[in-house]
């Protein structure tokens, strides 16, 4: 049961072979047993979860269940949920109880009837690629507990990989859904910017942040996205589009599909075993009838530098509200207002967050704005144009998600640039605002999962999900689970 798909769980609930309360208890028990070592969950509230499960059971009994009603879920601790502690992985918000719900929470809990099992760990304010920057300690990769699960949605990835939850929410600013999905053998989707509301999702970099599902299959991701997506008048960057059934293309044959392989993603910088697995996946697609064409993203080498100007710039401003005045951490002792600000922020934020606030403040400063921020915005347009050109030649773009498999805890923590390069293939997608996925495509010699990335054109999630689904119908990488967690 704990490895069942969302569809199978919904069927079991509908058939009353298990109740939502029973299912919720099953997962809460696993969390109680396995979370102390994995550190995926930071906040649990059994009463709240079970109350939601009872409400879901009532809805099922009344014949008013949707496709996700009663199914448990882990929520990344970046989404504000009324009455729940919402920390964003930071000491700054260690005791912050949200008085309101994020739109994603409203959609998943109230509208879809899902049961939140708890809030899962993440890099502090979503800044990190290894989940080592969390104030609540690092998350362990269920495939090898000496290794990182990726980040920033590392808690989400570890929770689903270890079957502490059937599915989880994640957010992706530069790869924070796709990279941990790759490192934990999951399927994760970052939708087109504006498809999922950002209201109530604590902002890191507003023009790049996008929420999406982290699950065991493309099919599960499609169900989840259908529930999460939709126009929200509370988010001015949300797109006014009709609701979509993202499962609608699943099962369509891949014959004739044109897969673009950006030559820049197949050069130096990618680990040999990752590359071999991605090449094997390309071979599988060709067997399924897809055509392969070479495309070029000539400005992709500029994506990491441009990202590390734009994202910190927005973050430096977004995080100004954490000032110790109205909520959150305040330094216990201070001499005056400025001292209160500096001590509160010095003590409340971790090193990586402070580094990015400093970078962002610098690039927006008088005299540097044109050289850094405006220049980075120009590069951003060039990168987006590269994709527009590439999609004239192909339907989807394929490449590695991350240049390496899960690395050891502490291995890259001392070298921010090495850490930033683990998002080298994912960042351009955020800069362009395109949908991107990661899905399992093999294992390295140490038994660590390898992910490949599929990038779609704007609003092409339904096709993208089918391309991933077609591969998952022909392979079983995504069905493999880590040993020793039963």
């Amino acid at each position: 049961m704990i490895h069942a798909s969302l569809k199978e769980l919904a069927a079991a609930l509908a058939a009353k072979s298990i109740s939502s309360v029973e299912l919720t208890r099953l997962y809460l028990d696993r969390i109680a047993r396995l979370n102390p070592s994995l550190n995926a969950f930071v906040t649990l509230d059994e009463d709240r979860s079970l109350a939601a499960a009872r409400a879901a059971d009532a809805r099922i009994a009344a014949g008013q269940a949707g496709p996700l009603t009663g199914i448990p879920i882990a929520q990344k601790d970046i989404f504000c949920a009324q009455g729940w502690r919402t920390t964003c992985g930071s000491k700054m918000l260690e005791n912050f109880i949200s008085p309101y719900d994020a739109t994603v929470i409203v959609k998943l809990e109230q509208e879809a009837g899902m049961v939140s099992l708890g809030k899962v760990n993440m890099d502090e304010f979503a800044m990190g690629s290894s989940n080592e920057t969390s104030w609540f300690g690092p998350v362990r990769n269920p495939w090898d507990q000496t290794r990182v699960p990726g980040g920033s949605s590392g808690g989400s990835a570890a929770a689903v990989a270890a079957a502490l939850a059937p599915v989880a929410t994640g957010t992706d600013t530069g790869g924070s859904i796709r990279q941990p999905a790759a490192l934990c053998n999951l399927t994760g989707l970052k939708p087109t910017y504006g498809v999922v509301s950002r209201y109530g999702m604590i902002a890191f970099a507003s023009s790049l942040d996008q929420a999406g599902p982290m699950a065991r299959s493309a099919e599960d991701c499609a169900l989840m996205l259908s529930a999460m997506a939709g126009f929200d008048e509370k988010d001015s960057t949300s797109l006014e589009r009709p609701a979509e059934d993202y499962s609608r293309c699943l099962g369509q044959p891949l014959k004739g599909l044109k897969i673009g392989l950006p030559k820049e993603f197949f050069g130096e910088g990618c680990g040999a075993e990752v590359m071999a697995a991605v090449q094997a996946a390309i071979g599988e697609y060709q067997r399924l009838g897809a055509e392969v064409v070479e495309v070029s993203l000539p400005n992709s080498h500029l994506s990491v530098p441009a990202y590390y100007v734009i994202a910190p710039a927005e973050a430096s401003s977004n995080l100004s509200r954490f000032d110790g005045v109205r909520y959150g951490y305040r330094a216990p002792e201070y001499s005056d207002l400025n001292d209160m600000y500096s001590k509160t922020r010095a003590q409340g934020f971790g090193a990586e967050v402070k580094r990015r606030i400093l970078i962002g403040t610098y690039v927006l400063s008088h005299g540097y704005y044109d050289a850094y921020y405006l220049q980075a915005q120009r590069i951003r347009r060039l990168i987006a144009n590269d994709f527009v050109e590439a999609f004239k030649e192909c339907d989807v773009i394929l490449g590695p998600t991350s240049p390496s498999t899960a690395f050891k805890r502490g291995e890259k923590a001392a070298d921010p640039v090495q850490m930033y390069l683990s998002d080298i293939y994912t960042i351009a997608v955020n800069l362009a605002g395109l949908p991107g996925m990661s899905l399992p495509c093999g294992f390295d010699g140490q038994g660590l999962p390898i992910g490949m990335q599929l990038i779609g054109n704007y609003f092409d999630e339904a096709r993208l999900l089918n391309v991933a689904h077609g591969y998952q119908q022909a392979t079983d990488w995504h069905r493999r689970t880590p040993a020793g967690l039963e």
Partner: protein, 483 residues
């Protein structure tokens, strides 16, 4: 030695008369208990996002059209970053590089009577932004209280070119702008509640030389303070320069108690606000159709109304300017003329601008609080025009209307028997009696003393209890004395 020339530019924050805030649904009503009108967005809770209030944009468009400016088809909201406890997000959402209103001008009339002159003050821009909350330093025993009710209140910041050359011009501009924003209904103009606040940028230089270094006087919330602050600042700057000193760019505050300005921060401590486009808000795009719909809904603007008053009612520029100082005054005047008749347009102007204004002023009332309505006043003026009463009696009737002794001038005239005597027979009888009883005056007049004639007129009017038609009395007396 040549004279110093004063150079003034003004930035005005006009609070827009929207029901809710610029980026949240919270109410903008003044005076509620602290922090009861602060939504999650105003409190800057983690994860909240701003949504632009269309009503605030509508106000900006109205303003842009009213000052003949360019309403930008695309403008951009930017973040102005700085830390202050009453600025919840740590940044203010404003507009920086691309404001919604660009250019425009306001025509002002400076001074009164013969010496008055008209001047055009050019605007640089007007942009939308949110207000901050309030820091309360009293009543908290050494701590500071924060009230975020005002946080997120929509403001239009209106910036002029450095076009004004005296405190009087600055005040005339501020008054004209104040009248205009109320006229087009975008701001209630309540200066005590902070709905209309001016900052004055002041510098002095010798004509023909570059502008001097300016100092900015912040937060002037009355026309009197604006005038006093600029006058003090100008004297201070001239004295400083003439004593061999130099002016440093600075922000200063005006202290109404001492009448002085004092530096708050110098250029060196100026913030680097790190403006950048707000990624939570899309560029503001205003279509031609929205502008045209707004234009069609605008009331007749002051300048157009003034020209029409001069053309239709034969008023002088001075009268027309006075009567279009506010929409209320103009509406009152037109209602008065409608009741009195077009032919009485000029006497109506006098009554509104002189008699009524003086009476209101005496009682400290606004026009909207006048006990005498425009229709009542028009009814009164109509009775002067048709010779039912004289001007002197009219003032009595006006007082009676003011005191509520009747609902119309006609009622009071009837009830109090104030109808003018125009029956020439009756007047002749009175004249004959007066002539008979005042032989000495008659003799003096015949001896060439014109003064004696006035005394005789006075006697007749007295006998008529003021009700005789003065022209008829004059004419009859002249005829009799000549005969």
């Amino acid at each position: 030695m040549s004279q110093w020339e004063v150079v003034i530019g003004i930035e005005t924050h006009a609070q827009l008369a929207t029901v809710s805030k610029i980026f949240s649904g919270a109410s903008t009503a003044f005076g509620a208990a602290p922090n009861t009108q602060a939504a999650p967005v105003d409190l800057a809770l983690p994860g909240v996002l701003p949504v632009l209030n269309k009503g605030a944009v509508e106000c900006a468009i109205r303003f842009g059209l009213a000052v003949d400016a360019q309403v930008a088809r695309k403008s951009v909201f930017a973040r102005k970053n700085y830390f202050y406890p009453d600025l919840p997000k740590g940044y203010q959402i404003s507009q920086f590089e691309l404001p919604v209103v660009q250019g425009g001008h306001v025509t002002i009339v400076v001074g009164q009577g013969e010496k008055s002159y008209e001047k055009r003050v050019n605007l640089t821009r007007a942009h939308l932004e949110e207000d901050a909350g309030k820091s309360l330093h009293e009543d908290f025993h050494g701590k500071t209280g924060i009230d975020l009710n005002r946080a997120g209140t929509p403001l239009l910041e209106i910036v002029t070119e450095p076009d004004m050359r005296s405190a009087d011009e600055a005040v005339a501009y501020a008054k004209a702008l104040h009248a205009l924003v109320r006229w087009i209904g975008i701001c209630d103009g309540n200066m005590q509640e902070g709905s209309f606040r001016c900052d004055a940028n002041v510098s002095v230089h010798k004509p023909g030389t570059p502008f001097g270094t300016r100092r900015e006087i912040k937060n002037l919330n009355s026309f009197r303070f604006l005038k006093e602050a600029i006058e003090y600042e100008v004297r201070w700057q001239i004295e400083t320069l003439e004593d061999g000193g130099s002016i440093q760019q600075a922000t200063v505050l005006f202290d109404p108690a001492t009448g002085e300005t004092r530096a708050m921060r110098s250029k060196e401590d100026a913030h680097d606000y790190r403006y950048f486009p707000d990624p939570d808000l899309l560029p503001l795009v205003i279509g031609e159709d929205w502008v045209e719909r707004t234009r069609a809904a605008l009331p007749e603007l002051p300048e157009a109304k003034k020209q029409r008053f001069m053309a239709d009612y034969g008023l002088s520029a001075y009268d027309a300017t006075g009567l279009t100082a506010s929409l209320e005054t103009a509406d009152y005047y037109e209602a008065c003329v409608a009741a009195a008749g077009q032919a009485s347009a000029k006497p109506c102007a006098n009554w509104v601008m002189v008699d009524l204004a003086a009476r209101l002023n005496k009682e400290g009332l606004e026009l909207g609080q006048s006990p005498v309505s425009a229709v009542q006043l028009g009814g009164l003026v109509a009775r002067i025009a048709d010779n039912t009463i004289s001007n002197a009696i009219a003032k009595k009737v006006f007082e009676a209307l003011w005191a509520g002794e009747g609902s119309t001038a006609d009622e009071i005239i009837e009830k109090q028997g104030l109808k003018q005597i125009t029956d020439s027979g009756a007047i002749e009888k009175l004249v004959d009696e007066v002539l008979a009883a005042n032989a000495a005056n008659v003799a003096e007049f015949k001896a060439g003393k014109e003064k004696a004639f006035n005394a005789l007129v006075g006697q007749v009017m007295k006998a008529a209890k003021g009700k005789a038609n003065p022209q008829q009395v004059n004419d009859l007396l002249r005829a009799k004395l000549a005969g």
